[in-house]
C-alpha cells in the first residue's frame, strides 16, 4: 500500500516526521518498506479557461484565448483534445516544466504565444492514477475548477509517500482511517495513555426521502451476515468535482465517474468496499446466493466469467449481477446515462470471498479487503458517508437503506497472566498488560485470574489467547525480551540413519576424487527425448510450471548432469569428474521419489603434462570408482553386460546385488555427448527404504568401521603366472575358477596383462596374474607354493580348458 504522508498529516494531525512515523509503524509490524519524496514545481502554473480557439490556416496549430481571471492570454497550442470552456493548466512565462523546459514568450508562424497549456507529462504527474481521458493531450480539469487558481493549490507541490508492506492479518491497516488509528496507538504509547478512537467513526447527518422499497433476500447468511441496499434517485453521473478529484489524487485512485470514484474513495479511506448498481436495470429484487453451475456473468472488465457454487453472487430475480465482494457485472454498472442507483454496503465472510476470488483467479481491491476481513460495524456508516458524498456530487436524493443483519458480537477473548509469562519466558505484571491493551484502545475487564478482552470488529486478528500475547510483545517491543538458553531433557543430537549414510557416501566420493554438484530437479521433457528416457507414463509433470523449461520433475540425474558438463565445457574446462546425490522422481503406483547417485567422468584424471604421464578417464576408471564405492558399503555386487538406450551398446552394464538391479554404468553414446562415462546407483536400493523418514531402526547396509582383524607376521610370497584360454572366456570366469579353490594362503590375485595375437594361436588370449601367498602361522616354503600352483593349474585345465604357465 502506498500512502501520502501529507494526507495523514492533514486529516489526522500527525506530528511525527515521515522517518519517525516509518520507524514507529515498522516496530509494531506495519512495515514501511520505503519513504519517497515527491516534489513538483508548479511555480507560475495557474488554471485558465479557453474562451476561444481557431485553427491557424495551413498549420496544425491552434490560436487560443485563455482567460486567467482578469485578463485573457493568447496562447498557441498544437493540442487537439481541447474545446471552448475547458479549464486547463497554463504555464506562464518564467515557469519551468517537469521536463526542464523553460517557458518564454514566443512567436509561432507570426502569432504571439504568452505561455503554454500543459499535459500531465509537462506537469510531472504519475500516469498510473490518471484517467485515460486525462492522459490524452492537455490535462482538462474538472468543470468547477476556479479560474486563475494557482496549480499548487490544487495539487500539493511536495509530499512524501510511504510504501507499506502489510502482513495478511493486518486488515485494520489497509485503509487510511485504520492506519491513522494505529498512529493514534503509537501516540498513546508515547504518552502512556489510553488511545481514543472516537474520531475514527464520523457522525453523518442525512435526511431521507423515504424507505428503500426493494426486496433484499440473503440465502446464505453465514456467507453474507450483513447487507444494506440504498436507493439514491436522480443522480447526475459525470466527471468528479475538483474537490473529489483532489481526494482521488491524494489517494492514488484513477478517476472513472463521480459515483464510482466515491465508492473507490470509501474503499481506500475507510476499508469498506461498496458497489453501486444502476437501479433501473434490476429485476424485482436483490438475492444474495451461491451461483449455480453454468451461470455466466460479464464482469466490469468485459470478461465473461463462468460461475460455480464456489462463487457467492448478487442476483436479481433473473440473473447474477455481481460476484459478491469481488467485481460487479457490466450490464448493471453505473454509466453516464444512469438516473437512479442502489448502493450496496455489505459484509461478506472472508473465507467465502477468498474461495470465490481464488477459484476465478480474479483478485481485486475489494476481494483483497473482504478476504482479510472488513469492519462489520463500520459497514452501515460507510454507506452513510458515501451517500452524503454522492448527493453532494450528483444532486441525488437519498432513501433510508434496507439493511438485513445476521451479525453477532465478536467472541470475547480471555488471557491469563500465566499464559503470557510462560509463552514469553518473562514475568510481566498485570498492570503492564492492561497498559498495553489501553494503548491499543482495547476494551477489557479484569476478572482476577484472567483478563477478558472485547475485540472491536476491526480487529480480525484477535481471536485466541495467543493473539493477545502477541499484542503484549508488540506494545512492549520485540527486542525488549531477554534471551535464554534451552533447558530440560532432549532426545539427542543425532542425524537420521539415512542422513548419516548420505554424509558417509558424500565423504567417500570426495575421497575418490570427485566433485559434488547439486543440480535442478525441474527439467524439460525435450531433453529426455534426446536420451530416450521420456517414458511418458512414468514422468511427473507440473500442473503449473513456471516455464516450459522446467515442466517435469527429473526422473534421472543424467540430463541435469549433462547440462552441467556442457556449461563447464563451454566455459573452457576440459575435464570433469563429478557426482550428485539427489532425489529423482517417477510415477509408479503413486508419485515416488528416490535417492540416486550419479557419477560422471569426462576428460583426464591427469591432464597432458611435460612428463608424458597423462591419464584419461575411461570405463574401467569409472568401474574402479564404483567398486571402491560399493566395497565401502560392504555389499556384494556384480556387473552384467546390458545395453541402455543412451549408452554405447557394448560398453555398458547393469550393476546387480542379490538379484536386484542397483544401478548401471557405461559410456554415453557419442551422438549424445562425446567421451562421457556415467554411472548411476540407486541409493534407496542399497539402503533399507523403510528407513526413509525418522526411522530409528538400524540399516541393512553396514558401512561403519568394523573391529580389528589380525594380519600375518610372516613374509608374503609373490608368483606370476600366465593362463592361456579361449578368447570367449571372460576374465571374471578365470579369476573365479581360482577363487573357488578356496586356497586360504592365496591372499590376492591381480591381473596385470592381457595379450592376444601372434605368437598365440588364433582365438586364444593370455592373461597374466600376480598371485600373493601368505600364512598366518609360518613362512611358506617354495615347494608348498609350487603345490598350490599345481592345484590351480589342474583346476584351470579341468574347468575352463586353460593352460597355466609359470614364470
Amino acid at each position: 500500500m502506498i500512502i501520502s504522508y501529507k494526507l495523514l498529516k492533514d486529516a489526522f494531525d500527525v506530528d511525527y516526521t515521515p522517518q519517525e512515523l516509518s520507524d514507529k509503524l515498522t516496530s509494531i509490524g506495519i512495515e514501511v518498506e520505503g519513504i519517497r519524496d515527491v516534489k513538483h514545481n508548479f511555480k507560475h502554473i495557474i488554471t485558465g479557461k479557453i474562451v476561444s480557439m481557431e485553427l491557424i490556416t495551413e498549420t496544425k496549430l491552434f490560436k487560443t484565448m485563455v482567460s486567467i481571471g482578469e485578463e485573457a492570454l493568447q496562447i498557441i497550442t498544437a493540442a487537439t483534445n481541447l474545446e471552448v470552456n475547458n479549464i486547463v493548466p497554463v504555464a506562464l512565462p518564467d515557469s519551468i516544466l517537469a521536463n526542464g523546459l523553460a517557458i518564454k514568450r514566443e512567436e509561432f508562424k507570426g502569432f504571439k504565444s504568452n505561455g503554454m497549456l500543459c499535459s500531465y507529462t509537462e506537469l510531472g504527474l504519475d500516469p498510473e492514477y490518471l484517467s485515460n481521458e486525462e492522459k490524452v493531450g492537455i490535462l482538462i480539469l474538472p468543470e468547477d475548477t476556479p479560474i486563475g487558481l494557482k496549480f499548487e493549490d490544487i495539487l500539493p507541490i511536495d509530499d512524501t509517500v510511504l510504501e507499506l508492506s502489510l502482513l495478511p492479518d493486518r486488515a485494520d491497516a489497509f485503509n487510511v482511517n485504520g492506519l491513522a488509528r494505529w498512529i493514534e496507538t503509537l501516540k498513546a504509547r508515547d504518552n502512556g495513555k489510553r488511545a481514543d478512537f472516537s474520531k475514527f467513526t464520523p457522525e453523518v447527518n442525512l435526511s431521507f426521502q423515504g424507505e428503500t422499497n426493494f426486496e433484499i433476500d440473503i440465502k446464505n447468511p453465514e456467507m453474507c451476515p450483513f447487507y444494506s441496499g440504498r436507493i439514491i434517485k436522480n443522480v447526475n453521473v459525470k466527471k468528479s468535482s475538483l474537490k473529489l478529484r483532489q481526494k482521488l489524487f491524494m489517494l492514488k485512485i484513477r478517476p472513472i465517474n463521480n459515483i464510482v470514484d466515491i465508492t473507490n474513495f470509501i474503499n481506500k479511506f475507510y476499508g469498506q468496499p461498496l458497489h453501486a448498481f444502476d437501479f433501473d436495470k434490476l429485476d424485482e429484487k436483490l438475492i444474495i446466493r451461491l451461483a449455480k453451475k453454468g451461470e455466466k456473468l460479464k464482469t466490469l472488465d468485459e470478461v465473461e466469467r463462468n460461475l460455480t457454487d464456489d462463487n457467492l453472487v448478487i442476483a436479481d430475480s433473473k440473473k447474477p449481477i455481481a460476484i459478491a465482494g469481488v467485481m460487479g457485472g457490466k450490464s448493471t454498472s453505473v454509466k453516464e446515462d444512469t438516473k437512479n442507483i442502489i448502493l450496496e454496503s455489505a459484509y461478506f465472510s472472508p473465507k467465502r470471498i477468498a474461495q470465490s476470488s481464488r477459484t476465478l483467479g480474479l483478485i481485486t481491491d475489494a476481494s483483497t479487503l473482504f478476504e482479510k476481513g472488513a469492519d462489520s460495524n463500520f459497514t452501515p456508516i460507510a454507506s452513510l458517508i458515501a451517500t452524503k458524498l454522492i448527493c453532494e456530487e450528483t444532486g441525488g436524493i437519498p432513501y433510508k437503506d434496507n439493511a438485513i443483519s445476521y451479525l453477532v458480537k465478536p467472541d470475547t477473548v480471555k488471557v491469563r497472566l500465566e499464559k503470557i509469562n510462560s509463552l514469553l519466558g518473562e514475568l510481566i505484571n498485570k498492570e503492564d498488560v492492561k497498559k498495553y491493551f489501553d494503548f491499543e484502545g482495547l476494551k477489557y475487564k479484569d476478572k482476577g485470574s484472567f483478563i477478558e478482552v472485547y475485540p472491536p470488529t476491526f480487529r480480525q486478528d484477535l481471536k485466541i489467547e495467543e493473539d493477545l500475547v502477541e499484542e503484549v510483545i508488540r506494545m512492549k517491543g520485540y527486542n525488549e525480551f531477554r534471551e535464554t538458553l534451552l533447558s530440560g531433557e532432549f532426545r539427542g543430537s543425532k542425524r537420521t540413519e539415512f542422513e548419516d549414510f548420505i554424509w558417509f557416501l558424500k565423504d567417500k566420493l570426495v575421497a575418490l576424487g570427485l566433485t559434488e554438484i547439486q543440480t535442478t530437479s525441474l527439467i524439460n521433457t525435450e531433453k529426455l527425448k534426446i536420451i530416450g528416457l521420456d517414458e511418458e507414463k512414468r514422468l511427473i509433470k507440473l500442473l503449473n510450471p513456471l516455464t516450459e523449461d522446467m515442466n517435469i520433475l527429473r526422473p534421472s540425474l543424467l540430463t541435469p548432469m549433462l547440462d552441467v558438463l556442457e556449461r563447464n565445457i563451454n566455459a573452457g574446462k576440459n575435464s570433469i569428474s563429478m557426482f550428485e546425490i539427489g532425489k529423482v522422481f517417477r510415477k509408479d503406483a503413486s508419485f515416488q521419489e528416490y535417492m540416486e547417485l550419479g557419477i560422471m567422468l569426462s576428460g583426464d584424471k591427469i591432464s597432458k603434462n611435460a612428463f608424458k604421464k597423462a591419464f584419461s578417464y575411461d570405463f574401467f576408471y569409472l568401474k574402479g570408482i564404483v567398486e571402491e564405492f560399493l566395497d565401502s558399503v560392504r555389499i556384494n555386487y556384480d556387473f552384467e553386460e546390458h545395453a541402455l538406450p543412451f549408452m554405447h551398446p557394448y560398453q555398458s552394464a547393469k550393476i546387480i546385488s542379490l538379484n536386484k538391479e542397483i544401478g548401471y554404468i557405461g559410456k554415453i553414446k557419442d551422438e549424445i555427448f562425446k567421451n562421457v562415462f556415467y554411472a548411476s546407483i540407486y541409493i534407496d536400493g542399497i539402503f533399507n527404504e523403510s528407513l526413509f523418514l525418522c526411522n530409528p531402526h538400524s540399516s541393512s547396509v553396514d558401512y561403519k568401521l568394523k573391529n580389528f582383524e589380525d594380519f600375518s607376521i610372516y613374509p608374503t610370497v609373490k608368483r606370476d603366472i600366465a593362463i592361456l584360454v579361449e578368447e570367449s572366456v571372460s576374465e571374471k570366469k578365470v579369476r573365479e575358477t581360482i577363487r573357488h579353490l578356496n586356497i586360504s594362503e592365496l591372499k590376492c590375485i591381480t591381473l596385470f596383462d592381457i595379450y592376444k595375437g601372434i605368437p598365440l594361436p588364433k582365438g586364444k588370449k593370455n592373461l597374466a596374474y600376480s598371485l600373493e601367498f601368505s600364512s598366518m602361522d609360518k613362512t611358506l616354503r617354495g615347494e608348498e607354493i609350487e603345490e598350490l600352483i599345481e592345484k590351480i593349474e589342474q583346476e584351470i585345465k579341468i574347468k575352463i580348458g586353460g593352460i597355466l604357465r609359470k614364470k
Binding site: 509494531i28 509490524g29 512495515e31 495478511p168 493486518r170 474461495q355 514469553l424 519466558g425 518473562e426 495467543e466 500475547v469 502477541e470 510483545i473 508488540r474 520485540y478 527486542n479 525480551f481 534471551e483 535464554t484 538458553l485 534451552l486 533447558s487 530440560g488 532432549f490 532426545r491 539427542g492 543430537s493 543425532k494 542425524r495 537420521t496 542422513e499 558424500k506 566420493l509 570426495v510 570427485l514 566433485t515 559434488e516 554438484i517 547439486q518 543440480t519 511427473i540 507440473l542 500442473l543 503449473n544 510450471p545 513456471l546 520433475l553 556449461r567 563447464n568 566455459a571 574446462k573 570433469i576 532425489k583 508419485f591 521419489e593 591427469i606 603434462n609 526413509f692 523418514l693 525418522c694
Partner: protein
C-alpha cells in the same frame, strides 16, 4: 740427497693431474716395480756405510709421502667423477608438479553440514522428509486452510489435486510431531520449491532449515536465545540479532529475524540496503491449532519454530552475489569452496 729432492719435485708436478687414469700412470711411474722411488733404493748400495741409514730413512719417507698423496688424490678425483655423473641427472625443480583432478563437496552441502553441526551441538536432532508433499502436511496441518491468503506468500507447484512440491520444510514439523512425543528438539533441512520468478535473490528451487522445539517451558525468550546462539556460531561472536513483528499462520506470536550485517558490521552497505540488518527468516511460538492437529495438548506443551534459507546463509557468510550460482555448478564457482 739431490735425487730425492728432484724426484719429490717431479712427483709434486705430476700429482696435479685431473684424470684417474693419469694418476694410475703416476703411481706406476714412481712406485712401480721399475718406478723412480724403487730405483732409488737401488742407489743405496753405492752409499757410504754411515750415510746409508740416513738415506734409507729419507727414501722411505719419500715413499710413504708419495703413497699417501696418491691415495688422497685418488679419493678426490673419484669424488669429482661421481659428482659429474649426478650433475647429469639434474632436474629443473621449478617445473610444475603433476596435478590430479581432486574432489570436494558442494558449497551448499558444506553450509548445510555446518548448520547441522551447530544445531547438533545444541542438542537438536536432524530430520528430513519428502519433497513431494500433500496439501495436508504442507498447508492444512500448519493452520493454512484452502483459500487462506497466506498461501499467496508461497506460490506453489502442483502435481495433482492436493499433491504439491513442498514450499517449506515445515511439513517435517508435522511428520515429526506425529511420530514422537514431546520433548522435541529438531531441525529439518532440505530442498523446497516455490513458483517464484528467477532473479539474483529468488530461485524456484531453494533449501531451507527449519527448527522446532516443543517442551513444557519453551518460550519466546528461548527462541531468541537459540537463534542468537546459532547466529553467533555461524556468523561470528560479535553478530547481533533483531526481532520484528511478522505473520505466519502456524505461529502466534510470530516474528521476523534479522542479523546485524556481517559485511559492513552494521554500518550500512549495499547488501543490507544500508540498514545494517539482514533479514534471515520467520519464527514464532507454535500456533495452538498446529499442536492440536498432532494431538499435543497446548495447555501442557508449547514450542517455537523458525525457518531460514540455506542459500541466504551461504550467500551472506561467503559473499556470494547471486542465488542462481548454486545450481549452475560452474566449476569456477564450486572450486572456490573445495
Amino acid at each position: 740427497m739431490k735425487e730425492i729432492e728432484e724426484i719429490k719435485k717431479e712427483f709434486e708436478e705430476k700429482i696435479k693431474t685431473k684424470s684417474i687414469e693419469e694418476l694410475k700412470k703416476v703411481e706406476t711411474h714412481f712406485l712401480g716395480r721399475k718406478g723412480k722411488v724403487v730405483d732409488l733404493f737401488k742407489t743405496l748400495k753405492n752409499a757410504t756405510e754411515e750415510n746409508r741409514k740416513n738415506i734409507g730413512q729419507q727414501i722411505n719417507d719419500l715413499k710413504s709421502y708419495v703413497e699417501e698423496t696418491i691415495s688422497k688424490r685418488l679419493k678426490e678425483l673419484e669424488e669429482i667423477e661421481k659428482n659429474k655423473l649426478l650433475a647429469n641427472e639434474r632436474i629443473d625443480i621449478t617445473l610444475p608438479g603433476i596435478r590430479l583432478e581432486t574432489g570436494g563437496l558442494h558449497i551448499l552441502s558444506k553450509v548445510m553440514k555446518e548448520v547441522e553441526d551447530i544445531f547438533l551441538s545444541m542438542g537438536f536432532d536432524v530430520m528430513t522428509g519428502p519433497e513431494i508433499e500433500s496439501d495436508y502436511y504442507n498447508f492444512e496441518a500448519l493452520n493454512i486452510p484452502e483459500f487462506h491468503p497466506a498461501r499467496d506468500m508461497q506460490d506453489t507447484f502442483y502435481l495433482a489435486k492436493k499433491i504439491l512440491l513442498r514450499t517449506q520444510t515445515s511439513p517435517i514439523q508435522i511428520r515429526t510431531m506425529e511420530k514422537y512425543k514431546p520433548p522435541i528438539r529438531i531441525i529439518a533441512i532440505g530442498r523446497c520449491y516455490r513458483r517464484d520468478a528467477i532473479d539474483s535473490s529468488h530461485s524456484p528451487i531453494f533449501h531451507q532449515v527449519e527448527g522446532l522445539v516443543i517442551d513444557k517451558n519453551v518460550s519466546f525468550s528461548s527462541l531468541k536465545g537459540t537463534l542468537l546462539e546459532f547466529t553467533k556460531k555461524m556468523f561470528g561472536e560479535e553478530t547481533k540479532i533483531r526481532f520484528s513483528p511478522s505473520y505466519f499462520p502456524f505461529v502466534e506470536p510470530g516474528a521476523e529475524t534479522a542479523i546485524s550485517c556481517v559485511i559492513c558490521k552494521g554500518k550500512g552497505c549495499r547488501v543490507c540496503k544500508y540498514t545494517g540488518w539482514l533479514e534471515m527468516g520467520g519464527s514464532g511460538m507454535v500456533h495452538p491449532n498446529v499442536l492440536k492437529n498432532v494431538n499435543i495438548d497446548p495447555e501442557e506443551y508449547q514450542g517455537f519454530a523458525f525457518g531460514w534459507g540455506v542459500e541466504r546463509i551461504a550467500m551472506i557468510k561467503y559473499g556470494i552475489p547471486d542465488i542462481r550460482m548454486f545450481l549452475q555448478n560452474d566449476l569456477r564457482f564450486l572450486e572456490q569452496f573445495k
